[in-house]
């Protein structure tokens, strides 16, 4: 089946011709974390409306504070799918499958930024020794893995390199913590920082990007592998992938400053996997 044919089929499904069985189904549960979305009520509302319209069933967005919590919900089957980070996806690669990957600036890739206060004189990660540092989530690639794997690569021990580390459980919070001077540096999702630079320039102006990581796979929508072939999951996957086909979907994407959604192969996350392997060297 070509890409075009599948899209037509899915659009037909979305139009409700063969969606009637779904209507009788239980609400679709999609897991989210504020790590990425920062509890933006408007974005969440738009997403829910967009998905519900396409699927024809109620979509419930389940929000949890950490990736760990959302991942756990997904693995135990309490939610049908989740917008996760590449890192937890890879951590549970055996049980999870990629449903869709957001496209940002034309590609499904993003970077991790190491940010410091606007008045900082540091030139690189090595200059931050002994200072305070904010991570977003211990299961976040851009907000944790990239920095700690860099430290390991530098031969440092991540737990003692910084004077104190905190977890803010939100990329925007990392930016706030650095901007307000609560910490001297932070590990943040480059996409979030750039998005904030457009919506809240006064906030990001108080920070500056010290280093940028290589391009890595964008946080994907994941589902349990054992459920992926069910019509319910197929429909959901299609709904996500065709988000840019509906008005509400485009509106949600615009708020998220994303171009659309695409299918991606696991190889997209090889860069993250490489960093995970660096971390493995720490293990006894």
């Amino acid at each position: 089946m070509t890409q075009l044919t599948r899209r037509i089929v899915m659009q037909t499904m979305a139009a409700g011709l063969i969606a009637s069985p779904l209507r009788a189904m239980a609400p679709f549960r999609l897991g989210l974390t504020p790590v990425f979305l920062d509890n933006d009520a408007e974005v969440i509302g738009r997403l829910r409306e967009a998905f519900s319209e396409v699927l024809g069933v109620e979509v419930v967005l389940e929000q949890r504070r950490t990736y760990e919590e959302v991942t756990a919900l997904l693995l135990e089957g309490s939610i049908d799918a989740a917008w996760l980070c590449g890192y937890p996806y890879l951590q549970h690669k055996a049980a999870l499958s990629l449903m869709a990957v957001p496209v940002w600036n034309g590609q499904p890739l993003y970077q991790s930024y190491l940010i410091v206060g606007a008045d900082s004189t540091a030139n690189g990660l090595a200059d931050l020794r002994g200072e305070t540092h904010a991570y977003s989530d211990p299961d976040s690639n851009s907000g944790y893995l990239v920095t700690v794997s860099d430290l390991v690569s530098m031969g440092e021990r991540p737990e003692s390199f910084f004077g104190r580390t905190i977890f803010t459980y939100g990329h925007r919070n990392v930016v706030r913590a650095v901007a307000d001077g609560l910490v001297q540096s932070g590990s943040v999702d480059g996409y979030v920082w750039e998005a904030l630079a457009k919506t809240e320039p006064a906030l990001t102006a108080r920070t500056k990007v010290l280093t940028r990581s290589e391009w890595l796979g964008f946080p994907p929508f994941c589902g349990r592998s054992d459920q992926m072939n069910t019509p319910r999951m197929q429909a959901m996957q299609q709904a996500i992938l065709t988000l840019d086909q509906t008005e509400k979907g485009r509106s949600a994407l615009a708020l998220l400053q994303l171009d659309g959604m695409t299918k991606a192969a696991p190889a997209l996350y090889d860069g993250i996997a490489a960093r995970m392997r660096i971390m493995d060297t720490l293990r006894p």
Partner: protein, 464 residues
């Protein structure tokens, strides 16, 4: 005190009222400000309690987890960015006094000591707005599940309360000043009105040249108040002064008549005594008409007797010309007096000492003669039979000094009072003494009385 006494009474009372008002206003303002401060203190304490309580509820579990971000986020949201936000700064420390997070992390970095910030912080139960500081600092323990797990330091913006207090204080000051001024003006007007009768009496007394004028019936205060009584008393006093002046005038007149009477009696003697001799001379002339040497002798005698009588009549006439302006005192005036007094002296078989120096000073003759004659008449009366009476008149140092002495028993108390006192003339003792005193004072002179070696000396000094 002297300055105070120089201020008119009508101004002093309103000033005193104003001073009292200022005092009352000050005390009342203090009371209001104290109450306001208490109310504000209660209010800010309540607000601080609520803030601390709310923060404790939110932060308690976070402190026990050492969740720095959540502590910061909670504090940050609690302070917010709204204008007029009461809570402007908050910091939270753990039980060891180490800062977990503060709304301004640059001011209170993570892991710094909270003690660096607690200077000037007040305890919650003793919280009070002090001075003009726009912010107050409160340090309170963070209690979670009944256990003290840390400390909360908050800074609250109280500029609105301070401004309110300043504004109230200013309003009170202006209000009190206006009310005090109004009351002072009203007090001044009221006091002026109340004191009008007194002012009138004072003016009347000040403006009266000879005799004080009574208050007209139209200006008399109504009713029976103290002021009305004062005005009535003043009018009665004015009446009494007038009556007294009239009585004095009559007394002086009477004294003149009394001395005139005495003098007339002496004159009658003076005329009567030679009259027998003169009649005898006429009989002799008739009897010895043919003996020319006897007739010539009798005519000589008649001429001498009639000449003496002419002199006496002239002296008496001069004495009664009291208002005879222009006649200046001379030694002859004393000769006249001697002539007038001698009959009385000889009647009483008294000795007369007479010593009159050169008199060149310019003094009216009539009052001086009246003074000396009255004193001489009194002296002859006091000296009694075969007594001693003397007169000395000397001029020197621009003064005429007349001393009249007698060997009598001295002046009675009443007579002294009439001669020397200024009070009401008591009756009895001494003729014309009050007249002497009045005449001497008119001539701006003075009278003194001495008693030594059985002699009474009355000295009169007259400037000339």
């Amino acid at each position: 005190m002297s300055l105070l006494h120089r201020i008119p009474f009508a101004l002093r009372v309103p000033l005193f009222t104003a001073a009292l008002m200022i005092l009352v206003g000050f005390l009342a303002s203090q009371q209001v400000l104290t109450t306001l401060r208490q109310v504000q203190d209660d209010r800010i304490r309540e607000l601080a309690e609520l803030q601390i309580e709310a923060l404790s509820v939110a932060l308690g579990p976070l402190v026990s987890r050492n969740d720095i971000w959540e502590v910061y986020d909670t504090l940050d949201r609690a302070t917010g960015q709204n204008e007029g936000q009461r809570l402007v700064f908050a910091a939270l420390a753990n039980a060891d006094g180490v800062v977990l997070a503060a709304t301004n992390p640059r001011r209170a970095p993570v892991d710094s000591k909270i003690a660096k910030l607690t200077s000037g912080a007040q305890a919650l139960n003793a919280l009070s707005l002090t001075g003009e500081t726009a912010e107050i600092k409160v340090l309170a323990p963070l209690v979670y599940q009944g256990r003290e797990v840390g400390q909360i330091l908050i800074e609250m913006n109280v500029s609105d309360l301070v401004a309110e207090r300043t504004s109230v204080a200013r309003l009170l000051l202006i209000g009190n000043a206006v009310v005090t001024l109004l009351l002072a003006i009203l007090g001044y007007l009221a006091m002026r009105r109340i004191l009008m009768p007194v002012t009138r009496v004072v003016a009347r007394m000040r403006d009266s040249v000879d005799a004080p004028e009574p208050i007209a019936a139209s200006d008399m205060p109504a009713g029976d108040s103290e002021m009305a009584q004062l005005a009535k008393s003043y009018n009665s006093m004015v009446g009494a002064i007038g009556a007294k002046a009239e009585a004095d005038r009559r007394l002086a007149e009477r004294e003149r008549f009394v001395s005139l009477g005495r003098l007339s009696s002496s004159l009658a003697h003076e005329i009567n005594n030679p009259l027998g001799g003169l009649l005898n001379a006429v009989d002799t002339v008739q009897k010895y008409v043919d003996r020319p040497e006897v007739v010539r002798e009798s005519a000589e005698l008649l001429k001498r007797g009639l000449g003496h009588m002419r002199d006496v009549a002239r002296a008496t006439l001069d004495l009664n010309r009291l208002n005879h302006e222009g006649a200046v005192l001379a030694a002859d005036d004393f000769q006249d007096l001697k002539l007038l007094i001698e009959p009385e002296i000889s009647r009483q078989q008294q000795r007369l000492g007479w010593e009159v120096g050169e008199i060149t000073c310019v003094l009216p003759a009539a009052p001086v003669r009246q003074i000396a004659l009255n004193l001489l008449l009194n002296a002859t009366e006091a000296a009694g039979k075969e007594g001693l009476v003397s007169l000395k008149a000397q001029q020197g140092d621009g003064r005429l000094r007349i001393a009249i002495s007698d060997s009598g028993p001295g002046l009675a108390k009443a007579a002294c009072a009439r001669l020397l006192g200024t009070g009401a003339a008591a009756s009895g003792g001494g003729v014309g003494l009050r007249l002497v005193r009045d005449l001497v004072s008119q001539l701006k002179g003075c009278v003194s009385l001495d008693r030594a070696d059985g002699e009474t000396v009355i000295r009169v000094e007259l400037p000339c």
